[in-house]
Every structure is written in structure tokens, then in C-alpha cells.
């Protein structure tokens, strides 16, 4: 009924095609998506709707079993506040409304059953750049109807103390990347305060940082990159390659954020200050 800013269908992603420059795509926060899927009885890597920054409004044409995880987008079902991290039964004709995110960036809506959409290279993940996967290879928009073949199961809920608190993320761990040694004046206890620039998307995000100096040899050529790799530009800015990112890149790869940590990293809001710390 309303699409939000960047709502798309994602799953665990497509593997094996990086050789041709086709990235894995898939969940920006695989942990939250897996929890949503488990709560409705689907496979952990099954399809969900991923909403970034601002949520959507969904009309259920049939009854459904759903779960919401990740960023808190203040979901309401027919005007009533709707809990997160638990199985919810929705009646046919109900509307669920998400707003802007209060905490975190990315929210998942899982719906029990099989998502009746064509898979591309064994994945339902939307990769808008090549218009592949998901719903016609594009972001969701008003009027789209998604068919999910439902099945029955019992409800579950996640303990409060186990749920993530994105506002509390103040530090992200980074491992040394292959070109770490190109940085000047760094040491093993390296820490730097950064914030995300507004120029980010599912392909990558730029981090604003101060005081980084790098010496890039003239003959430095393109190298393989994967989601989570941290590149440093000659002017000392950091770029983190994300889920829809390119597969090779020409900037030195000074660090690597591992998959679990990357899920948390992706939930950090634009402008929020946090520390990147080198894992010793």
C-alpha cells in the first residue's frame, strides 16, 4: 500500500557468480533475518522483505503468520502496536504499517510459507543494479501483490535479553586487510572514530574519518573484494563493500569486517559516531 524508501525481497543470496561480477546480494543483516524466519518456521536463509530506514504498509489479502525483527520501525497492525521478535497471526484484510526506524536501520518481515517468485541463480534476492531476482528485479512499490503459500505451525518468541540493541553499538571490530601495511602511523591497538556518510546504499558505504594517511604504490592494480572489506582511498576515506558490492576494486584493502559484525555494522544509522577497532 506504501513502499517505504528501499524495500526489497532478500534471502541468503546467490553464490558462485562473483567470477562474472555478480555479487551475492542477500540480507544486509543475516542474523535478524534468520531470527524472523525461524519465528515463522521458515528456513533461516528463506526470503523476507527487507526495509531500510523507512518501512512500508502491507495489506494482507489472506491470513498469515509473520514475524518482525531488526530495526524498530514501530509496526502497527490495524492501529494496534505490534510486537517484534515473536510469531504473530494476522487476519485476512488486516493492514500492517511500519514507520521510520527508531533504533537501527534495517527491518525484516518474514511470512510463513513458500514465496511464489521465480528464483534467479538459485536465489530470490533482489539485485536492482542488474534488475535480477526478487519482485521483477526491482524495489517493491505500491500495488505489488506477493503470493506466499502458507503452512501451519506453532508460535515462538525471542527472549527480551537476547534481542539486539542497535543504539548501544559503539564499536565495530575490524581485522587487518591484505594492504594494512600501506597505512602510515598505525599500530596494533588501532582505533578510529568514524561515521557513515549519507552516500551509502546496498553496494557500499563511505565512512568519514580523520587523520588516516596511506601511501598507495603507483602500480597498485584492481584486487578482489568481498562484502565486509574496508578500502582506504588515497585521501584517507574509508569505503566498506556491502552485499550488492562490486567484486574487484582499485583501492587498498586495509581491513575486513566479518559477516556477523557486518550485520551489526549495517544497522548503524547514518551520522551516528562509532569506533572501528582493530582486532588483535
Amino acid at each position: 500500500m506504501r513502499s517505504g524508501i528501499h524495500s526489497s525481497i532478500q534471502d541468503g543470496g546467490r553464490t558462485g557468480m562473483a567470477f562474472y561480477g555478480i555479487p551475492r546480494a542477500g540480507f544486509m543483516d543475516a542474523q535478524s533475518a534468520a531470527i524472523a524466519n525461524v519465528l515463522v518456521g521458515n528456513k533461516k536463509k528463506g526470503a523476507c522483505i527487507e526495509m531500510i530506514n523507512l518501512g512500508m504498509e502491507v495489506l494482507f489479502l489472506d491470513s498469515a503468520t509473520i514475524a518482525i525483527t531488526g530495526a524498530d520501525m514501530q509496526a502497527h497492525v490495524d492501529g494496534q502496536s505490534c510486537p517484534m521478535y515473536e510469531t504473530i497471526e494476522i487476519l485476512a484484510g488486516s493492514r500492517i504499517k511500519f514507520s521510520s526506524s527508531r533504533s537501527g536501520m534495517i527491518s525484516y518481515l518474514a511470512v510463513r510459507g513458500k514465496w511464489m517468485l521465480p528464483s534467479v541463480m538459485d536465489s530470490l534476492s533482489t539485485y536492482t543494479y542488474a534488475q535480477m531476482g526478487g519482485f521483477e528485479g526491482r524495489l517493491l512499490k505500491k500495488g505489488d501483490i506477493i503470493n506466499v503459500a502458507s503452512k501451519l505451525d506453532n508460535g515462538l518468541s525471542m527472549k527480551w535479553e537476547s534481542r539486539p540493541n542497535y543504539d548501544a553499538i559503539s564499536m565495530i571490530e575490524m581485522h587487518k586487510g591484505p594492504e594494512w601495511a600501506m597505512l602510515s602511523n598505525v599500530h596494533d591497538g588501532f582505533k578510529i572514530q568514524v561515521r557513515k556518510s549519507p552516500m551509502g546504499n546496498r553496494m557500499g558505504v563511505q565512512l568519514l574519518a580523520d587523520g588516516l594517511q596511506i601511501h598507495v604504490p603507483d602500480d597498485f592494480r584492481s584486487q578482489a573484494v568481498v562484502p565486509g572489506m574496508v578500502q582506504c582511498t588515497p585521501s584517507g576515506e574509508l569505503i566498506v563493500i556491502l552485499q550488492d558490492g562490486q567484486t574487484t576494486g582499485g583501492y587498498p584493502r586495509i581491513g575486513m569486517i566479518k559477516a556477523k559484525e557486518l550485520a551489526l555494522f549495517n544497522q548503524i544509522k547514518v551520522g551516528q559516531k562509532f569506533i572501528i577497532k582493530l582486532k588483535s
Binding site: 553464490t15 558462485g16 557468480m17 562473483a18 567470477f19 562474472y20 561480477g21 555478480i22 551475492r24 534467479v120 541463480m121 543494479y129 542488474a130 535480477m132 581485522h175 587487518k176 586487510g177 591484505p178 592494480r221 584492481s222 584486487q223 578482489a224 568481498v226 562490486q246 567484486t247 574487484t248 584493502r253 575486513m256 566479518k258
Partner: protein, 229 residues
């Protein structure tokens, strides 16, 4: 962790970049790193999730322990297929980038096109973005510098030159190379087992077509294989 390995007669040094990501640098230049990568990719070896080839090396992303993977790679028999020759129709359209290309080459567009069509271009690398093709063998006189800041290229299947390379942007994207023409056939075939028909080392021979044939071929929705049949 690092060491050296003999992959089916091709000696490579390797180092683990981070857990599950291993970079291999072949000691010899032939076959190229990208070619070895392509053959390994095609073998669909257990435990290998991704293979990414670049000019100097290739990277394997694996969910298997490195020792196990190295042992497995030491036992493979690589079959390196013969390279092929592909013909491609090209319409040298009126793009904005021709100005810079003419200026840096000091050639008129006609002279540039003539020399370009005589170039022996070979696929050196694939990837970076979906369906991007790096071609080596561009005559020095035809080389034009890359743009400092990429500019959005709205064209599919666009032929471009940048630095020592010619290349094809299969999809619209920000482009740092200079666009000089358009191919009326889709390079990227996402439903095919290999999403790009060309293999590393294949030769691409361009045949100039005019605007009328360009529009006509585009409306027919051919494949590269149809055109080369």
C-alpha cells in the same frame, strides 16, 4: 598462512587474506591468473563458494579449512580449453566521449575507427560489475585516459576505452571509461549457465554497422551465439 602450491602443473604462491579468503598468484604469466580462475570456477569444486580473477592473482572464497582446500587443489586436473573467436557488431554512435578520444589520439573519428577495427582484442578479465569485459590488445595510439570521476552511462552493451584497455559495459552504470559505441546484442545472459558467453583469452572481432542495422538488430533480440552461428 601462506605457501606455494602446484595446481595441475601451474605453480602458484598463496596467502590467506582473512579466514576463508585465499589469494593465489601464479608464478608464470601463462595461462593468466584469470584463466586458471575460470577453469577452477567451471569445475565447481566442493568447498569453493566464489572465485574472483584479476590481472595479477585470483581469490578463492571457501567454507572449507584452508589445509583441506589446498590439498584438494593440489589434486585437480585443469583442462584449459582452446580459445575461440567471436564476431560482434558495433555501431560507433555519437557519444559525448568522442571529443576527448579524438583529442588525445590526435585522430579523426574515421581514422580512429579504422585502426580500432584492426586491433587484435582478447578477453583478459571478467567481473568487477556484472558482465563487465576487459579487453587487452588496444593499440597505444588508441588509448585514452580514464575519467577522474565516473559519469553515469545510460547505455547497455557499451564499448569503451580506458587506459590500456578496451571494455564493454554490459549494463548501464557509472563509467570511468570513454564510451565510443554500442553493441545491439545483450552480452549478459542471466539465465545461461555462464552469464557471459566469452571465455578468458577469447578473441573479439568487431564489425562496424550503421544506425539502421543497429536498430534492426536490436529489435530482433539476438544472442551472441545466434550472431556467430
Amino acid at each position: 598462512m601462506s605457501g606455494s602450491i602446484n595446481i595441475s602443473g601451474h605453480k602458484c604462491v598463496y596467502r590467506q587474506l582473512t579466514e576463508g579468503i585465499i589469494e593465489f598468484t601464479p608464478v608464470e604469466h601463462k595461462p593468466s591468473a584469470a584463466k586458471i580462475a575460470e577453469c577452477l570456477w567451471a569445475m565447481k569444486i566442493k568447498g569453493i563458494q566464489e572465485v574472483i580473477g584479476t590481472q595479477d592473482n585470483f581469490v578463492i572464497i571457501s567454507n572449507t579449512k584452508i589445509q583441506k582446500l589446498i590439498r584438494r587443489l593440489g589434486k585437480v586436473h585443469l583442462k584449459i580449453p582452446k580459445s575461440k573467436k567471436w564476431f560482434l557488431p558495433i555501431y560507433f554512435s555519437d557519444t559525448e566521449d568522442w571529443g576527448l578520444v579524438e583529442k588525445t589520439s590526435g585522430m579523426t573519428r574515421d581514422a580512429y575507427v579504422d585502426l580500432f577495427l584492426k586491433s587484435k582484442l582478447k578477453v583478459e578479465m571478467l567481473g568487477f560489475i556484472p558482465g563487465f569485459i576487459y579487453l587487452k590488445g588496444l593499440n597505444k595510439r588508441l588509448q585514452a585516459p580514464r575519467k577522474k570521476t565516473p559519469v553515469h552511462n545510460p547505455l547497455k552493451n557499451a564499448l569503451a576505452v580506458g587506459g590500456p584497455y578496451a571494455g564493454i559495459y554490459s549494463l548501464p552504470s557509472p563509467a570511468g571509461w570513454n564510451i565510443i559505441g554500442e553493441i545491439p546484442i545483450d552480452i549478459l545472459q542471466i539465465d545461461a549457465e555462464r552469464p557471459v558467453p566469452f571465455a578468458i583469452g577469447d578473441r573479439l572481432v568487431f564489425r562496424e554497422i550503421d544506425r539502421t542495422s543497429f536498430e534492426e538488430m536490436k529489435s530482433k533480440i539476438l544472442t551472441i551465439q545466434d550472431y556467430n552461428a
